[in-house]
Every structure is written in structure tokens, then in C-alpha cells.
Subunit: 271 residues, 3 copies
């Protein structure tokens, strides 16, 4: 068993990091799936970051060298995009640009599962996924529908820690409560709303937000926690004034744009 320090990330640090994001407006390169590119860009813009969806070979590496952070999301990994992902991840590692791997639906689907294994060699700063994906990436699950989401997060917690130690990445497992770990420290984020699972990209866009926050600090666990906290507080605020997933998505973008460090201090639930 891993021995955890529980927890060394404070809500106050998350709040300060949100202010820093607004000052710096980090440039986030997102190589992501075609279903959620629009939503992901709008989430970054609403929060105060600058999105750039540069996802073709030759250009993706050039851009990764000047980006503040990079997201690689495997949701619809077309052949040209796969080459762009490898190129960008390699440059990001070489250039010291923090990058986030979101291994969407790895396990059962062979192309992305093989790709995810390759991408691990470029040492992602943060790995973000649901319990099934983290288990599959760690080689202990088949991915897909086999794991119930809420039980899954607890079940995946120990696996996440081992994956973190093996890869050097912070591993973030999303669920009703989000579990994040760097293999030594463990954080739980309790804010959020089930409506995030009723809007496509609710998880994927969080990966891009993590890439934005990862550009602001060398502590990747703090970055992932601050990203998750800001994101889920805006979401639960939006949920309170929504009539369904349509109005929720709209209110969520509004809430991201008006979210303050004070909101994070008052509503943050990091343990």
C-alpha cells in the first residue's frame, strides 16, 4: 500500500492560482476530439485562458514549443491527428511545457489504447480520466462500461496512485467526488454537479483547464486540484439556475467568466 499525505493542497492556493490565471491568460494548445472542440475553446475563453486548436502534423510541434500548456485528448483520434499528438507531446516534454493526457475510452478500442501507451513515454504532467479509463490505462481494467462510476472512483484510487508513481504524472480520476494524486499526496474535490455528465465535453474540457492551470505552477497536483475546484464550483453555481442540460451549459460558461478567488475560498471543498 502507498502511504498518503492527506492533503497538502489548500483551497487558498487554488484561489490564488485562479487570480494568476486571469493575469497571465495562458495559451493552451488543445488537440482534442471533434465532438468537444467548440465547447472546450469556449470554456477556456470564458475562464480567461487563450485556446488554440493546432492539431495537424508539422504545425502541432511548432506550436507546442510556444504554448503555455497542452491537452492531448484521444476521443476521436484520426490518423493525421494521431501524428500531431505524438509530435506535440514530444516537443512539450523537450520544451518543458506541461501537458495533460485524457485517455478517452481506452481499453476496449485498440487504436487509442495503443496510442495512449505510446504517449505515456512522453511523460504527461497530468493524466485525467474516469475510473474505467484510469484502470484501463494502468492495465488492470478493460475500460468502457464495465465499471460503475461511483464505486469506480474508490476502486481506481489505489491504481491511480500506482500509475502516478510509475509515470511521474499526477493522476486525476473524475466522478461524483474527484480523486487526484501524485502517488504520494492524495486530494479529494467534493464540489460539482451531475449535470456535467449530461453535457458532452463536461469531462474533456476539464482536461484543457488543467493544462491552463499547469502552466502557472510547478506543483502539478495543486494545478489539477485548482482546475478541478474552479471548474466544478462554476458548474454547481450554474446548476442552481438551470432547467436542464441546455441551460446548464450556457450558465456554466457565464459562471466560469465571473468566478472569483473569493468564490473558490467560500465554496472550495478540497480534502
Amino acid at each position: 500500500m502507498t502511504s498518503f499525505v492527506h492533503t497538502s493542497v489548500s483551497v487558498e492556493d487554488c484561489a490564488l492560482l485562479l487570480d494568476r490565471l486571469r493575469e497571465r491568460a495562458p495559451l493552451v494548445q488543445a488537440i482534442t476530439n471533434g465532438v468537444v472542440t467548440n465547447f472546450t475553446a469556449n470554456v477556456l475563453l470564458a475562464l480567461g485562458a487563450a485556446p488554440a486548436m493546432v492539431d495537424i502534423p508539422v504545425e502541432s510541434g511548432a506550436f507546442a514549443a510556444i504554448a503555455d500548456g497542452l491537452l492531448v485528448n484521444l476521443g476521436t483520434p484520426h490518423e493525421e491527428q494521431r501524428r500531431a499528438m505524438r509530435e506535440a507531446a514530444e516537443v512539450a516534454r523537450a520544451s518543458g511545457v506541461p501537458w495533460v493526457l485524457d485517455p478517452v475510452a481506452v481499453g476496449f478500442l485498440p487504436v487509442r489504447t495503443s496510442l495512449a501507451a505510446d504517449l505515456l513515454s512522453f511523460e504527461p504532467t497530468i493524466i485525467r480520466g474516469n475510473a474505467s479509463e484510469i484502470l484501463a490505462l494502468a492495465g488492470v481494467g478493460a475500460g468502457g462500461r464495465g465499471v460503475d462510476a461511483s464505486d469506480g472512483v474508490e476502486a481506481a484510487s489505489e491504481t491511480a496512485s500506482q500509475l502516478a508513481l510509475r509515470t511521474g504524472a499526477v493522476v486525476a480520476v473524475s466522478g461524483p467526488v474527484d480523486h487526484l494524486t501524485d502517488g504520494r499526496r492524495r486530494v479529494r474535490v467534493g464540489t460539482g454537479t451531475p449535470l456535467l455528465t449530461r453535457v458532452t465535453g463536461g469531462g474533456c474540457a476539464l482536461g484543457a483547464v488543467m493544462a491552463a492551470f499547469a502552466s502557472l505552477t510547478d506543483d502539478a497536483l495543486l494545478a489539477a486540484t485548482a482546475a478541478t475546484t474552479a471548474y466544478t464550483i462554476a458548474a454547481q453555481t450554474a446548476a442552481a439556475s438551470s432547467s436542464g442540460p441546455g441551460s446548464f451549459a450556457v450558465a456554466f460558461l457565464d459562471a466560469l467568466s465571473t468566478l472569483t478567488a473569493t468564490d473558490v475560498r467560500e465554496l472550495g471543498a478540497v480534502s
Copy 2:
């Protein structure tokens, strides 16, 4: 002339099928055009189905074997996606997974017109399009702008029936009144709103909803009718509280998420 049984699909059956959809949350694979992937996924999520946009070769066939239903929409048929479509449709037929073909803009445009002809050999469960597309697919029209939408539906009705008998598919022709047929029975659905034509994907997402419903019953005409009824009732409910196409699209997702079997019973207009 075909002799029609008019009609053997009841509103009550449509209402019961909506309840079944909510219980089963069918997994719908959507290989669809890049313009509407986000909206299509959000429509499925709002209604209570589970979308998966798996659209690359090797993976699309593997996924089709485990999906509950499949949509193949020809709106932006890039080369890699065309291969994924053929692969998924072939597996769907072999595995008994119901699938919907949406032959967007066939007729004038050569690549998709040839592709649609090929895909017919994999025996779609439902073919969904506007009058021009159905006429073009049946080989009696040029597609595109040549057919007025409202006259077109009536004009396409007899052609739809012949196409249904020839292919074994249910054919659904969308318009101010939707016409659906399996070649023997004929159904008209009178609910809806012109605002569906002012939001991109208003027709395309219906194809994905048909794939969800087709997983719930062996009667594909009932499935297509129930899908159209649920979809258009939610749309006309949303239209009543909208100020234009922007607010309509938002209200539509909300209305899909709160739509009940009772709404279907009270508002259904199937004849």
C-alpha cells in the same frame, strides 16, 4: 400503387417506448458530420441515451458490435470516416445492431452519392432524410435545391414506399409533416416547429435519436415514429418559450431532458 395500412402505430406505444429508453439508456454510436457532432451528442444525453462518436477505421467496427444502435450520417464524409462507415455498417448488419442511414445531400454530390449506394447493401434499418434526399437516393431526383420542402414530402411519399420495399428499411421523410413508411404501413407525424430548420443538426440529430429508439423494439416503424414524436414534441414545447434559434436550441435540450410519456400521450399527433 402500394396499398397502405393507415396506421398501425399508436401514440401509446410511442409513450411506452420513451419510458423504455430512459430505463435502458441505449449506447448509440454516431458516425456523423463535423458540423453537428456536438449537438447530436447533447441531444442523446439530454434524452437519456449514451452517445459514442467512434468514427475511425478498426475502432468503428469493434464498437458497432457492442453498440445498441448506430447512426451513419453522410454530411461531411472525409476519406477516413467513409472507411469507418462501411466497416461499422457491415458489422452492424452482421451483429443484428439496428442502424440508421442519413444520406445528407446525396444526388448532386458524387462522393456521398456513391457511398450511400454502397451502404444500402448493408441493409439499414431506417433511412432518414428530407424529400430531396429520399428522391435522390431512390434514383428519381437530383437532390439538392430542386424540390420544395413541403410539396416534396407528399411527392416523395410514394417513392419512399418503393424505396422501403426495395431495401427492407423504414423510410422517414422529414418536413412540416413527417412521413414514415415500411412500404406497407404509412405514418404521419404532425408535431414539430419550423425552428428545427433554423438550427444546424435539427434533422441530423433526429437520425441519432432514431438509432436509440430502434434498439428498443423490433418494429422499426414504431421506433422511427416514437423517435420523431418525442423529438418534435420537445421541439414544439421549446419553441413556445424561445426568442429565436439560439434560445430555441437551448430550450430544446432542456425539453428533451424533461419530456415524459405523459407529454407524448397528450401531445402526440400520429396518423
Copy 3:
């Protein structure tokens, strides 16, 4: 220095052109980036034009011959799309179909920079971009983040005029105040809202609207001005009732659908 006629485009002409757009519902082919296809199609539909995202080789040229206007936007120029862009632009020139080039992020990124140079040989009717992009396309800037947006528009104004004279295109530089020129006449459009920069596609969709307006008149500077005026008036109207970028995007589509020639006459700020 170029000597400018300042200005020969009237708000009244812009208003009349909006009425003409509603009567004709021009068919606009948009070959654009994957991040904004949905928003672009919805903007065109809301305004009263007919979008068609035909962006694969063989089909893109066939469609360009029958389209009323064409947009080529370089935001995510995948290999297949690049071929479709060249094909469509060549056919548009040969067929006398007006077309708009949006050289997104040219300068630093090599693939699109080379592509943009090639596309200039097909003589776009309008070139639309921000100051950095116009400077980079003209060969006097590196593009990207190097130019501040507000100073940039003024700085790019003389360069825009030279680019217009060299290419024969109207050049539109977006910013807090939009600058448009055909090399002889110069127009400034003062309407708008900063919220357009907080929604992805806020600039890209304007390119599609320019393609729609360019189909209505031989005066491309009038077309670009009328498009910018209609677009930014709807945007500032929407901004007045918005709580952030999410609700703004929704209200913007509603405002485009209800915008009238009278609104243009009363609110237009063309100088």
C-alpha cells in the same frame, strides 16, 4: 502613401443589402475549421442564409460552382481539407463566385502560411483577419501574439490597403473598430462588443457572413461593410442582455434572426 476616399459606403446601402439577403437566402459554402463549424452554420441560418459545409475533394469544387458565396478559413487545415480548399477556390474564381479568405493564425505556423500564399493566386474577393494575420499575410509581420489587437488595427491599416491593391481583394481588419479597404476607399465600422472575442468563432463566423453578403452586390467593400455592420449590431444588441459569454452566444443568434434594416439604419456606425 495611398490616398483614400473616405467613405463611399453608406449605412443605408448596408440596410438595403440586409433586406436583399433575407429575400435571396444565399447558399454559402463554408470550408472552415472544426472548432467553429457548428457556430458558423447557426450564424448563417439565424441571419437567413443557407449554409453548406462541403469540404472534401471532388465535392468541394462541384459545390463551389453552384454556391452563391464561399468561405475558406484556415483554422484547422487538415490535409484533405487543404485539397478541398484549393479546389473550391479555383472553381469559385473560374465561376465568378465571390469568396472570402480567412487566414487564421498565418505567419508562425508553416502549413497554413504556405497554403494562404497559394490561395491568394485564386484571387479572393475579400480577405478577413485580425491585424496580426493581415500583417503576416502581407509579409510584414510574424503573426501570432506579437501584435497588440487595438494598436494593431491602426498599424495594419496602411498594410491592408497595399495588400488590397496587390491582390484585388477587399481587406477587412477586425478589432475594437473594424477597418475595411479596397485599396482606394477606406471604411471604419464602430459597432460591436468585446464579448465577440470571448466566444470561439466570433471572428470566423463573420467571414461566412461576408461570403453571404458578397453574393448580393458587385461592390465587395459594401458587402464586407454590410456584413460587419449587421453582425456587430446584432452582437452589441445581444451583449446588452447577456450575463457572460454563454448567454451572449445564445442571444447573438436570436438577435441575428430578428435584426432588421431599421436596426441597421438606427444603429449603424460606418465612417
